[in-house]
Symmetry: C2
Subunit: 230 residues, 2 copies
């Protein structure tokens, strides 16, 4: 069975866990603390980032979107599932655009300012940049998330899901980031009803359940985190 | 004919220009200054980033890797060309991993510290973060580029090109970033002979010629920038 190295509060890992749940594909899941920079892990992925899928033949597939494309191209998607990637080239491009919005823009403007500051820096050695959260970064993240919620509301009003009438990888990536920030209690859900309704729908899917029971040493999520009627 | 919005010193635009040259695909090229945040451009790509391909039917394909996948999937690659994307799923995953190394890691650690500080900030309004370069960022970029050159040397010693025996999108993305930094005169080529030899090979390809004659107001590239025997 292929192995996936992941971390519970890593949004890139979470989007791959959601994919596995949606498709019903079984993997061996191994928790990796990327900030430890473990030598064997760096051999698998010199960039030192999560997630990494290791095939039965020992090949390392690095990064969430690379894993998605691999799963689609290597024929690992069970025939019964509807695909998380649309068939039409222009629709695929829009799915990839929305993925990049969250994995790059939201990550830069929100996730790094909140999650990296509040979680990763706590566990990282001083030598590698660990320490208390940077207050200015946290304030920027809290300000930036508001317009991202409005953009989610806009996208969810355009079609049933963020990039299509069916759920796609774009929804998984967006929900993965949001769920990590929600674990910290930093999502102002009241700001946008459309975004909240979209999140309630994806949160109630069976693929989401494992994320709602994640535990991280030293961080207690707010009461609404695992509540489907938040 | 499809249109591509690009900027001469944008590494993401440059990798698409190299793709067009390698495949011999004709586009209408329109220069866009992303920092102006032109309203019509934001309608095409709400993220406000380059490059954007607009199809003859008016669909916007946003981002360099999304454009690459679109070109491959929409059947726009001329039959005579050898592909810039390997056929085997594991080899494709390695090409995508190396692309992400440059488009994300190199971009974070080098390009943003040097190019964004020295060029974008000069042209950006004060309100949107313009101003003189941040000296600490520039010093970090100059320090970080050295280990990236060693990594290029390592990859180029592993196969003929960075992710395969044939040239792939990974080489185009890496060369696109390096060429922007080289325009500023900030690549210490003497640090790694293997990286330099790889760059000399890609720089001498016909697809690279348009990049070597780029001109940017107020910035003069060093004498070796356009020299194939640098």
């Amino acid at each position: 069975m292929p192995t996936i190295y992941h971390y519970p509060l890593c949004p890139f890992s979470r989007s791959v866990r959601l994919m596995a749940g949606e498709y019903g594909i079984a993997f061996d899941w191994v928790e990796e603390k990327a900030w430890d920079r473990r030598e064997e892990f760096l051999h698998l992925n010199p960039a030192g980032t999560l997630p990494v899928l290791v095939t039965d033949a020992g090949a390392a597939i690095c990064g969430n979107t690379t894993i998605f494309e691999y799963i689609e191209e290597a024929g690992l998607v069970p025939g019964i599932s509807s695909s998380l990637m649309p068939a039409d080239p222009v629709a695929r491009a829009d799915t990839r655009r929305v993925i990049a919005w969250f994995d790059r823009k939201f990550d830069d403007e929100v996730t790094r300012n909140l999650l990296t500051e509040k979680v990763d820096r706590r566990f990282t050695s001083h030598e590698h940049g660990g320490g208390p959260p940077n207050g200015a970064a946290v304030r920027a993240g809290l300000a930036n998330i508001r317009y991202h919620l409005r953009y989610i509301g806009f996208l969810a009003a355009r079609a049933n899901w963020l990039s299509s009438d069916a759920i796609t990888y774009a929804d998984l990536c967006a929900a993965a980031h949001l769920s990590c920030i929600d674990f910290l209690g930093d999502v102002p859900w009241a700001e946008d009803e459309g975004a909240k309704a979209w999140y309630a729908r994806i949160k109630s899917r069976p693929s989401f359940r494992p994320l709602l029971s994640d535990q991280v040493r030293g961080i207690t999520p707010p009461g609404h985190y695992a509540d489907l009627d938040f």
